[in-house]
């Protein structure tokens, strides 16, 4: 590269750095901002999910600030990209913890959360996991709070219903070939076989690919009573292609498959859903803010989990304690019950929230609740 | 003069190969061009063609200076180059070879030699019209390569070792064709060849190079008497 070009590149980088500085230094003066970190996959194949999660966090922060902040202090969310990769996440975690000194980080993805959990313990930073359900998250760190039941708990609810109420005896599993999908597959298989059912096919779909036909055909050919589905992406396409496969059985899944609902092709399918409501006016506000058609599962959970963090921070500041991870962790256990329009989350001794689980069935344009299993 | 090369100095990156090369070529005349491997013959031809830029010196074609022109412009003015190998398009048939070159050069003013002319001049090609060039023998490919060089309005053909890989009878036949066609159409030719006797037989003029410099420039008769053969 000629020197002139190199120099102008250097100038551009310098200008960008300088222009960004006032923003990061702002909280050094006056009433300091409350900083919360969010470590989300903003790039790569997982980015669609990450962006929805980001909207949820931003929505909660915006609403808190619109209501005057937390005890008069503005809240700011600092987003870091994890690319859904552990080593990238590690650096991003350290940035948030060391440079920004955030007391709490909202995370996404089991792999990322598992990778940074030991660090969070060491540095006393609270992690809030609103959506990852890997069973390994249960005891990963005393500083890690899962605001969602882990996959085994939720899976057992839907499996019970499938076997005991619907008398399904054989099942096929369609799973995404990533950690969440594989955990879901294994948990379902364990739960289903324990209740006397038989798994007749296990077929993966590759993350980020959208041709499900061969998998669906193979599942249909095994002629199971029900197809248990664990995918986190591409739901409309999945339903569309399932509808094109003659003899595809009724589908069932957990919260992950929420977006399967409400298509002609998925009418009659079942899912368990972590009990979470959404007041229409709130969803409308969200949609106006982000130009979306609905407030998806991830947006809701990340919104709600951000509010959990904010509520605990509010509690902490109310007691006049210093805002740090250690105090925040204690504050979460002190508050214990985090009720909201979206969900009632309780941390009772354990780091994983107990939440009610609904069993829903879809029609072509809506869903109805068939049964509810309350939190134990 | 069709071609005039004046005090040409040229070479590759950081390495001058030929210095101060000058010669002239009359219309219709054939110049045999001899020298060791590395003496500078190819470099001279490539500089005339335009694949190399001269460091110094000039190349004139029919009274126009061409040494700053890009290759296609020189081709348009009548320079032709016959490489020592791979002078045809192997994946095209003989007919397609001739057709594609003829059509891409059809717009030239005064295009005189058409596909039909080439086929009648080189009857061997006529018989193989539909064959893929890559499947033909070396001699047949060389004929086709020569045919391709004739299309349009050639003024000066640079032939690089046209006899390589040919059987002796084919060499005589090809050289005969070259002599005949050059005379008929007033095309001049530079013939780089190591079959010295055959080349001398059809030449009007001999140029010998050694170590990048011209060491002999004169008629064949004089060349035969000279002592430059010790170079070979």
């Amino acid at each position: 590269m000629p020197l002139r070009q190199l120099r102008s590149l250097a100038a551009a980088v310098a200008a960008a750095v300088v222009s960004a500085l006032p923003g990061t230094l702002a909280h050094a003066q006056g009433q300091p901002e409350i900083l919360i970190g969010a470590l989300l996959p903003l790039t790569g194949p997982a980015a669609p999910v990450g962006l929805e999660q980001q909207q949820g966090v931003q929505f909660a922060v915006d609403r808190a600030n619109a209501a005057g902040g937390i005890r008069g202090r503005k809240v700011k969310a600092i987003f870091e990209d994890s690319q859904a990769k552990p080593d990238v996440a590690l650096l991003s975690f350290n940035r948030l913890a060391d440079l920004e000194n955030v007391p709490v980080i909202i995370t996404a993805f089991s792999s990322v959360t598992l990778a940074i959990a030991p660090l969070a313990t060491r540095k006393k930073v609270v992690l809030i996991n609103p959506a990852a359900q890997s069973n390994k998250l249960e005891n990963a760190s005393p500083y890690l709070f899962n605001t969602i039941p882990l996959v085994k708990d939720e899976t057992s609810a839907i499996t019970n219903y499938l076997v005991n109420s619907l008398h399904k005896k054989t099942a096929a599993i369609v799973y995404e070939n990533v950690a969440a999908g594989i955990d879901g597959r294994d948990d379902f298989k364990k739960a289903f076989e324990k209740l006397g059912g038989k798994v007749v096919a296990e077929e993966p779909v590759e993350f980020g690919l959208t041709n499900y036909r061969p998998t669906l055909l193979k599942v249909a050919a095994a002629k199971p009573d029900v197809a248990f589905i664990v995918i986190t992406q591409g739901h409309p396409t999945f339903v569309e292609q399932a509808a094109q496969v003659p003899g595809f059985p009724v589908g069932a899944g957990t919260t992950f498959v929420n977006p399967l609902c409400c298509y002609a092709g998925s009418a009659g399918w079942y899912q368990s859903a972590i009990k979470s409501g959404i007041p229409p006016e709130l969803e409308k506000e969200f949609n106006t803010r982000f130009g979306t058609k609905s407030m998806g599962f991830f947006a809701r959970e990340y919104f709600n989990s951000t509010n959990v963090a904010l509520k605990a921070i509010d509690h902490l500041l109310g007691k006049g304690q210093a805002l740090n991870g250690e105090n925040l962790r204690a504050a979460i256990f002190e508050v214990k019950k985090f009720g909201s329009d979206i969900a009632n989350i309780t941390f009772d001794k354990t780091n994983t929230a107990a939440r009610g689980v609904d069993i829903q069935q879809y029609t072509a344009d809506s869903r109805k609740i068939l049964a509810t299993e309350e939190a134990k | 003069m069709t071609l005039e090369v004046r005090k040409l100095t040229a070479g590759y990156r950081n390495k001058i190969v030929i210095t101060d090369v000058s010669f002239e070529l009359a219309p219709g005349s054939i110049m045999a061009f001899f020298g060791h491997n590395g003496a500078g013959k190819s470099t001279t031809l490539k500089t005339i063609l335009g694949a190399l830029s001269p460091v110094e010196g000039e190349v004139w074609l029919d009274g126009e200076r061409i040494d700053r022109l890009p290759i296609p412009e020189r081709i348009a003015r009548g320079i032709r180059y016959l490489p020592d190998s791979r002078g045809v398009f192997p994946d095209l048939t003989v007919e397609e070879n001739l057709d594609v070159v003829a059509r891409m050069n059809a717009a030239d003013s005064g295009a005189r030699i058409a596909v039909a002319d080439v086929l009648s001049m080189l009857p061997l090609l006529e018989a193989r019209r539909g064959s893929y060039a890559g499947t033909m023998s070396g001699g047949q490919q060389q004929m086709l390569a020569f045919g391709l060089a004739l299309l349009g309005s050639p003024r000066c053909i640079l032939l690089e070792e046209p006899s390589v890989g040919l059987q002796p009878d084919l060499v005589e036949m090809l050289f005969g064709e070259i002599r005949r066609i050059c005379a008929k159409h007033a095309i001049s030719a530079i013939l780089v060849e190591h079959k010295i006797a055959s080349a001398m037989a059809i030449s009007d003029h001999v140029l010998i190079m050694n170590n990048g410099a011209v060491v002999f420039d004169g008629p064949p008769a004089k060349a035969r008497e000279s002592n430059f053969w010790e170079f070979f």
């Binding site: 790039t43 790569g44 194949p45 980015a47 669609p48 962006l51 070939n177 296990e202 077929e203 993966p204 779909v205 590759e206 980020g208 690919l209 959208t210 041709n211 036909r213 061969p214 998998t215 055909l217 193979k218 249909a220 050919a221 992406q233 591409g234 409309p236 396409t237 569309e240 292609q241 509808a243 094109q244 003659p246 | 063609l49 290759i71 296609p72 081709i75 348009a76 032709r80 180059y81 490489p83 791979r86 002078g87 045809v88 398009f89 192997p90 994946d91 095209l92 397609e96 070879n97 057709d99 594609v100 070159v101 059509r103 891409m104 050069n105 893929y132 890559g134 499947t135 391709l148 299309l151």
Partner: protein, 286 residues
């Protein structure tokens, strides 16, 4: 019948991959540039057409505009990247790395413009089904197959019968001679890139119409296609297309015998073995 349906679906996807393979082969055998960014063009085509369709433009017109847009994008890459690199006498390695860079620029440019979400075409007719007796396919699948076969046929015709086709084959088989016989290799490269890009885009659009689109899926499609190109024999367009279809059918049908999670790995493992045993490919070039 599971087997027949898998077979038919495999044939259909094979046509789409075949189109990518043929266009890659055409470009590669002409220029010898390993154009990885082709996957980005495939992606770009789909998104451009989607954008058009979302603006309410009739599908056929949106499709034509997107194909033209992709051809233009390809031409820009050729003119301002590969041509420039060639002028600087870059090695194949440098070309390949630059191409990887272009791929990242294209994929992420698309992600920035259109979001990285999985997107579906709005046209309702695309999911309607057609019963073929032995199997059933969607209208969109019919379009995938038809466009793939038609574009392949058109390319073969162009290659044999038109002046441009002959120039392309001439340049591919002897670039130096093409330069000194004024066949204009540079403009041929540009034309080949535009044609190849248009074909990849067409494939990307039709697959997007049938399934859905994501900015990052093009790479796997291209990899499968390059396997077909190499196994088919470099320079043989028919070989590339046939092997691509065969590969796709094989991947689909093999599911009957093999768990799906090993299918991609099996394909590539098979290829690695194949390339060691028979590096010149199945379809020997003349």
């Amino acid at each position: 019948m599971l087997f027949l349906q898998l077979l038919v679906d495999g044939l259909v996807s094979g046509c789409a991959i075949g189109l990518v393979a043929v266009s890659f082969s055409l470009y590669y055998s002409t220029t010898r540039v390993f154009h990885v960014a082709h996957a980005g063009i495939y992606t770009l085509g789909g998104y451009l057409a989607w954008y058009g369709a979302m603006q309410g433009i009739p599908f056929a017109i949106a499709c034509a505009l997107a194909v033209a847009g992709a051809a233009f994008a390809g031409a820009v890459i050729q003119r301002f990247l590969y041509d420039e690199l060639e002028r600087r006498e870059a090695t194949p390695l440098v070309m390949l790395i630059a191409s990887l860079g272009a791929l990242a620029v294209l994929q992420n440019g698309v992600a920035m413009l259109f979001t990285p979400n999985i997107l579906q075409f709005p046209n309702p007719w695309r999911t309607r089904m057609l019963d073929l007796g032995i199997a059933s396919v969607s209208y969109a699948q019919v379009l995938v197959a038809a466009s793939g076969l038609a574009a392949f046929g058109a390319l073969m015709w162009m290659s044999r019968r038109t002046l441009l086709g002959r120039r392309i084959r001439a340049v591919a088989s002897n670039p130096f001679l093409a330069e000194i016989t004024r066949l204009g290799p540079r403009s041929v490269y540009l034309a080949v890139m535009a044609i190849a890009s248009a074909m990849a885009a067409l494939s990307g659009i039709m697959v997007g119409l049938d399934q859905a689109m994501q900015p990052y899926t093009g790479v796997l499609v291209l990899l499968t296609a390059t396997i077909a190109v190499i196994a088919g024999g470099i320079g043989s367009l028919t070989g590339a297309f046939v092997v691509a279809v065969a590969l796709s059918v094989l991947q689909n049908v093999a599911l009957i015998l093999m768990p799906g999670r090993w299918s991609i790995a099996a394909t590539f493992a098979l290829f690695v073995v194949f390339i060691l045993v028979k590096p010149e490919g199945l379809f020997r070039k003349r």
